[in-house]
């Protein structure tokens, strides 16, 4: 299939509760996904706290493209592409730093950190040239919600708020857990690569069916209540938030437990500084509610996964190679809980993570598995018969149901079918 001129037969590829194996293995489809999803929709790029000072920059990505996220001298955030407007060399090779300008090593063109061409050597060779037309490329649109910076290569389309839709509230819910109502991404990233299609990762993030099996080894030896949250008896729900976004809403279980910071496997007594600050910020009653509910477990399509205490940023490199960039969430002004957030994150995630190495193993084995030609489809029908609507009109299912996956595919198909 040549993506440019063959229109995939979507009715055969994606059905309400099954998808073809080739959805994960077809390189032409991946090229089409770049056009229809990664280089069109809102994609999470970075967090404002990664460039706290004027002239800070950090190297980020949208799919296989590198994106330089800068903060200019006036404090404005920019998403620039790492391609010299002269003959295409990369203007920046550093992961992060502080620089007012970027000089291309090839012929010395220099760009300010807001993307403008500042000058070039031997300028007499460019008589009459309009420098204002020769800035760095940039991500067409940029928008920020709760400090999360998103970019879209589409000039027109939904606003970020519209794109986030039902998932917007989950980011509000996240930052509420910070006494200053702000999170920070300051602990640096682990970059964990898997030989797998990116959609296996997206699906797994809110798959409540796998933890009891994939993570049985760690649940067996660590005192962790996570396993019970994803049992068939759990009162937690899986929720399709629309727009491809989904969550495992664990609050029903945490509310049953009725213990502040129970969601984080600790207690208010063990984090007195954090608790005092939360009480001061919200009042004791409200702080108690927030600390019982905890942070969300939400997959924001297509690439931001907030997993209670950490964020994962999913970056597809090709149809069968994906990198997950992961770091601990930090609550502004709360050092005692932040330390614990880092320690827990480090133990769980990344290439050697007590949890994520095993998820990674599943991604890779599944990628190899779907190379087999039969059966034609992956079966995604778990809990179809017990899907229901919640008070807000979202489709929800039991904790272990495949409601999130079905929602993701419905949205994916609509994006891929759009002109």
């Amino acid at each position: 299939m040549n993506a440019a001129d063959a229109i995939p037969n979507w009715d055969s590829l994606i059905r309400p509760h099954e998808v073809r194996g080739s959805m994960y293995t077809d390189p032409a489809l991946f090229e089409l996904e770049l056009q229809k999803i990664w280089y069109r929709t809102w994609v999470y790029v970075g967090h404002v706290s990664e460039v706290p000072q004027p002239n800070d920059f950090v190297m980020k990505s949208i799919g296989p493209q590198a994106v330089i996220m800068t903060r200019d001298k006036d404090g404005e955030i920019h998403l620039l592409l790492n391609r010299c407007s002269h003959r295409g060399n990369q203007v920046c090779l550093k992961d992060s730093g502080n620089a007012g300008s970027f000089t291309c090593p090839y012929h010395g063109w220099t760009f300010t950190n807001n993307g403008k061409l500042r000058g070039y050597p031997f300028p007499t060779g460019y008589e009459g040239v309009d420098n204002s037309q020769l800035g760095l490329g940039r991500v067409t649109r940029m928008s920020i919600y709760q400090g999360f910076v998103f970019g879209s290569f589409a000039a027109e389309g939904p606003t970020l708020e519209e794109h986030l839709g039902g998932a917007r509230e989950t980011l509000d819910r996240l930052v509420r857990n910070s006494p200053e109502n702000e999170i920070e991404i300051t602990a640096g990233f682990l970059k964990h690569q898997v030989r797998s299609n990116w959609k296996f990762l997206v699906e797994n993030e809110t798959d409540g069916y796998h933890p009891q099996f994939v993570h049985a080894s760690i649940f067996a030896v660590a005192k962790s209540g996570i396993g019970d949250l994803y049992s068939s008896k759990s009162t937690a729900v899986s929720r399709d938030l629309g727009g491809g976004h989904s969550e495992n809403d664990l609050r029903p279980e945490f509310r049953r437990l009725d213990k502040p910071l129970g969601w984080f496997g600790t207690s208010a007594e063990r984090l007195p500084d954090y608790t005092a600050k939360m009480n001061a910020a919200h009042g004791e009653g409200r702080a108690r509610e927030i600390m019982i509910d905890g942070t969300p477990h939400v997959m924001i399509f297509p690439n931001l996964f907030v997993a209670e205490i950490q964020i994962f940023v999913i970056q597809p490199l090709s149809v069968s190679e994906t990198v997950q960039h992961v770091t601990a969430i930090q609550f502004k002004g709360a050092p005692d809980i932040n330390r614990r957030l880092r320690q827990q994150t480090m133990g769980s995630v990344g290439p050697a993570g007590l949890l994520l190495a095993d998820d990674g193993e599943m991604y890779e084995r599944t990628q190899r598995g779907v190379q087999a030609l039969k059966p034609d489809y992956l079966y995604l029908g778990r809990g179809k018969h017990r899907e229901r609507e919640d008070e807000q009109g979202f489709v929800v299912g039991d904790a272990t149901d495949e409601v999130p996956t079905r929602g993701m595919w419905r949205h994916y198909r609509s994006q891929m079918e759009a002109d």
């Binding site: 992961d95 990233f189 970059k191 898997v194 030896v221 994150t345 133990g347």
Partner: protein
């Protein structure tokens, strides 16, 4: 630094210790490997270069002694999927140097080159290792092991074996 004959004997003992540690890791002898650690052992695999302050930034592994124990317990369940089947491993530890003493510990460095065979395929891991070794009850024990992978600034595939 200058070494005398006693140091040569000590260096030989250190090398034997490092080879032994390497073999236990290669052979997935988890309990025996764990027994090489002191009670305050720290196992550190930084990310992104030398890693900065591991108390502040993310590391691939930054295990205190109790987390080393947890890591081993998980492997011993036999259900750690990323090590079921186990990685095929052989490593070379070389360029062993004694850097000096710090309190009761010997500071040692070495290069390591690990060949790993997995379901995904074969991989080579290269690192500079730093150790702090301590004599406990007459035997050398490991109080600290830092594994600085040459490519730790890049995206890495899973590495759930003992490196």
């Amino acid at each position: 630094m200058a070494f005398d004959a006693n140091d040569s004997l000590l260096l030989c003992e250190i090398e034997q210790f490092l080879y032994h540690e390497a073999r236990l890791a290669d052979d997935h002898q988890y309990e025996a490997w764990e027994s090489l650690w002191t009670e305050d052992g720290v196992y550190w695999i930084p990310a992104n270069g030398e890693g900065g302050d591991p108390e502040q930034v993310m590391s691939i592994v930054y295990d205190n002694r109790s987390r080393i124990a947890l890591r081993i317990k998980q492997l011993l369940t036999g259900k750690r999927l990323s090590q079921t089947p186990r990685s095929g491993l052989r490593r070379i530890v070389s360029n062993v140097e004694m850097l000096g003493r710090e309190n009761q510990d010997l500071r040692v460095t070495a290069n390591a080159f690990v060949f790993e065979s997995t379901l995904r395929g074969d991989l080579v891991w290269a690192s500079r290792n730093e150790y702090r070794l301590r004599r406990v009850g007459g035997e050398l024990r490991m109080a600290y092991k830092k594994v600085t992978l040459v490519n730790n600034d890049k995206a890495l595939y899973s590495m759930s074996f003992l490196i």
